[in-house]
């Protein structure tokens, strides 16, 4: 059965149809093609899930892509437990977000273009997760990056949007550079870039070192860290996180699909997929765990004080992605992927709710101008509240199970930094609950703070938008139920399911310790919610006073630790200066122009001289010919 091929190629077909026929023929009906294609992918993905649950995995080459010497690579598909989870996440979110977009993008002049790119993105993402070799993974990786660029800059007539698109693309170059070198290193070491032989042989190289830039480094650490470079860029971890908040310039469904649920989790997927390599290097794992922990803390603190509704959720995404890396870094890959899977639902839901709010507020993003929207938009309110409960880790919701699993495995795992990242993770759980509910309270509770016209305009979104919200809400609540830990009487089915690919994380601890970890994270979550309620419902004067009292801290957080300014000073402005003064001023004007203009000028000048020979008089030519013959004869005689 090859019907799994439909999963990526249906969206590709939809892309081709929309991009070729959308402008002139499909127009306002463009969404039908895309939605049907993606829904078809979803159906096949579910069938594949059933097959995989029965223990059937697929690793098949479709056709030979590149053959050069001993370098062979095919377009091939690997469908195992990890892939199938990603397939479900991607196709489910993509389908619901496609449907939501029908309402959200209604009447937009680039309607067909939007759906075409959304389908292309889905195709690339599916190619990424279904690859059975690193090159195809890289193809999907760059493909999603390209679609991300297209869609962030979707409103390309707006300068901030096109700038944000460029920023996302350029910042990702830094990470992908390392990723590319990582793939070269893999080929150099193993002589192949197929997952199966690479992972099978990785153990044999566990103690090898390699000379890299003049230093002897542990081979597996080097490869793992180079691959992790790519993850850092794509998943917006420190220090390459700067592009994700700006990416919110794109339409909200794009933020939900690409910059929350799917593309940004590709980095986590990569680490999980390469777990056989990462597991061989304690250093690399430690770097992954610490990067994740620091990023999650860092982004969560910024999220506390922002006022832009989408940016708060963007920082929340960065923070939660940090959580996933934290999990991978302590060796709990399946917990990381579990969080990826639950996070996709509640974060996509949060974004779509934010989009629904923006829809009602005529594009307003500032929290301080909202308030009291509860009575106008009950469905949006309820779904967003449930999503926030889920992200805050309230027991019973999806976020609780995945977060608890990560914290427990961090606490009890063998990692040397486990306790440290557990502590950071718990603090972040508190912060997450706080800023998520700050968002809820400022948006939906209290009095309306916007203009009179805005208040008049307030309305619940149409059904085509609210139904995807409700369906995602089901996911945000129930998706975690497949991974209820043994402690709470569940079967931990998710970990069991992942075991063949990601191994079984070892946690060494007593039941009482496990209860303790769970209790601490639940208390952290509830106290975050409680504090947000106190600050933004009961004593609304406290945040103002606090911001005034700690103005230094507030300013630092509000300006995102000045990272953008730092990069602007360190990289952007020197680059622009170099471009203007050296590349344009010297290289281009003095060197390239000189060559480009000099060559024809020299040829022209020489021909001015030489053309005089061509007099047009027959007898001149004849004389030259006769003289030539005489010279030749003379030479022959004198020889």
């Amino acid at each position: 059965m090859n019907n799994y091929l439909l999963i990526p190629f249906l969206p590709l077909a939809a892309f081709l149809i929309n991009i070729l026929l959308g402008r002139n023929f499909l127009k306002e009906k463009a969404h039908w093609v895309s939605i049907l294609a993606v829904a078809g992918s979803w159906v096949v993905a579910v069938m594949t899930l059933v097959d995989t649950m029965a223990g059937k995995t697929i690793n098949q080459d479709l056709y030979s892509w590149i053959v050069s010497g001993n370098f062979k690579v095919s377009v091939g598909f690997l469908i195992d437990q990890l892939t199938v989870v990603m397939l479900i996440v991607v196709t489910t979110c993509s389908t619901l977000i496609h449907i939501y977009s029908v309402g959200y993008m209604h009447g937009d002049k680039g309607y067909y273009r939007f759906f075409a790119y959304l389908s292309l993105f889905t195709f690339c993402m599916l190619m990424l997760v279904m690859a059975n070799n690193f090159l195809q993974l890289y193809f999907g990786w760059e493909g999603v990056g390209l679609c991300s660029y297209f869609l962030i800059g979707y409103y390309f007539d707006k300068k901030s949007a096109s700038d944000a698109g460029k920023k996302a693309f350029i910042v990702n170059r830094f990470g992908d550079f390392g990723f590319g070198i990582g793939i070269f290193m893999i080929f150099l070491t193993f002589g192949t870039i197929y997952y199966e032989p690479v992972f099978a042989q990785a153990g044999g190289f566990a103690n090898n070192t390699v000379n890299f830039l003049g230093y002897d480094v542990h081979l597996m650490t080097l490869i793992a860290l180079l691959l992790f470079c790519g993850s850092v860029g794509k998943s917006a971890q420190m220090p390459l996180h700067v592009w994700l908040p700006d990416a919110m310039e794109g339409p909200t469904p794009v933020s939900a699909l690409i910059h929350a649920a799917t593309m940004v989790t590709a980095g986590v997927f990569l680490v999980a997929r390469c777990s056989p390599i990462f597991s061989l290097s304690e250093t690399a794992l430690m770097v992954v765990a610490l990067t994740g922990a620091i990023t999650s803390l860092f982004a969560a603190t910024i999220g506390l004080v922002q006022n832009d509704i989408k940016r708060i959720i963007a920082y929340s995404t960065i923070s939660q992605l940090g959580y996933m890396f934290l999990a991978c870094g302590v060796g709990a890959y399946s917990a990381g992927v579990f969080h990826l899977y639950t996070h996709a639902f509640f974060k996509a839901l949060l974004f779509l709710c934010a989009g629904s709010v923006m829809h009602a507020m005529a594009g307003e993003l500032n929290l301080q101008k909202m308030g009291g929207l509860k009575k106008y938009m009950p469905v949006t309110y309820l779904t967003m509240l449930l999503a926030s409960l889920s992200i805050a880790g309230v027991p019973g919701f999806a976020g609780f199970f995945s977060k608890d699993e990560i914290l427990w495995l961090a606490y009890s795992g063998p990692s040397p930094v486990g306790k440290l990242v557990w502590a950071i993770g718990t603090v972040v759980a508190f912060l997450t609950a706080f800023y998520s509910f700050r968002l809820i309270f400022l948006t939906f509770h209290g009095k309306f703070r916007g203009t009179h016209e805005q208040e008049h305009h307030l309305h619940e979104s149409p059904k085509v938008m609210t139904i995807p919200l409700i369906l995602l809400c089901v996911g945000a609540i129930a998706s975690g139920w497949v991974g209820i830990p043994h402690l709470l009487g569940g079967g931990a089915h998710f970990t069991e399911f992942m075991k063949p690919v990601l191994g079984h994380p070892e946690g060494h601890g007593t039941h009482s310790e496990e209860w303790m970890v769970m209790a601490v994270s639940v208390i952290a979550g509830f106290s975050g919610i409680g504090l947000a309620a106190l600050f933004y419902l009961v004593r609304t004067d406290i945040p103002v006073k606090l911001a005034a009292g700690l103005s230094g801290v507030h300013k630092l957080l509000f300006n995102k630790y000045y990272v953008d300014e730092f990069y602007s000073f360190l990289i952007v402005r020197p680059a622009i200066w170099t471009a203007k003064n050296i590349l344009i001023g010297i290289t281009d004007a003095k060197i390239i122009e000189a060559i480009v203009n000099g060559v024809p000028k020299a040829i022209g000048g020489f021909s001015q001289v030489i053309r005089k020979v061509q007099t047009g008089f027959l007898q001149h030519y004849a004389t030259i010919m006769a003289t030539g013959i005489l010279i030749i004869i003379a030479l022959m005689l004198l020889r």
Binding site: R611, Q614, G616, F617, A626
Partner: protein, 100 residues
Amino acid sequence: MVPLNWYLMLSATVFMIGVFGFLTRKNIIIMFMSVELMLNGVNISLVAFSHYLQDLRGQILVFFIITVAAAEAAIGLAIIIALFRNKSTAHVDEMNEMKG
């Protein structure tokens, strides 16, 4: 009997008269006639060698040259007449259309 060298000298003289005529005279008809002189200079040496070596191939070659010269004269004169009709002159210095 006349020695071979005399024939060859005559041949060279006739050929060089043709060459100098072609290079120095400005009237296109005279230049054309100079070309014929060159051809016939060559013919003389061919016939002389043919007789000297007792080999008829030289004389056969002369027939060929005479035939080609006749054809060339027909085409050449036609071209000259066409030129004269266009330019109303037979002076080669007025014909420098190919000047670079």
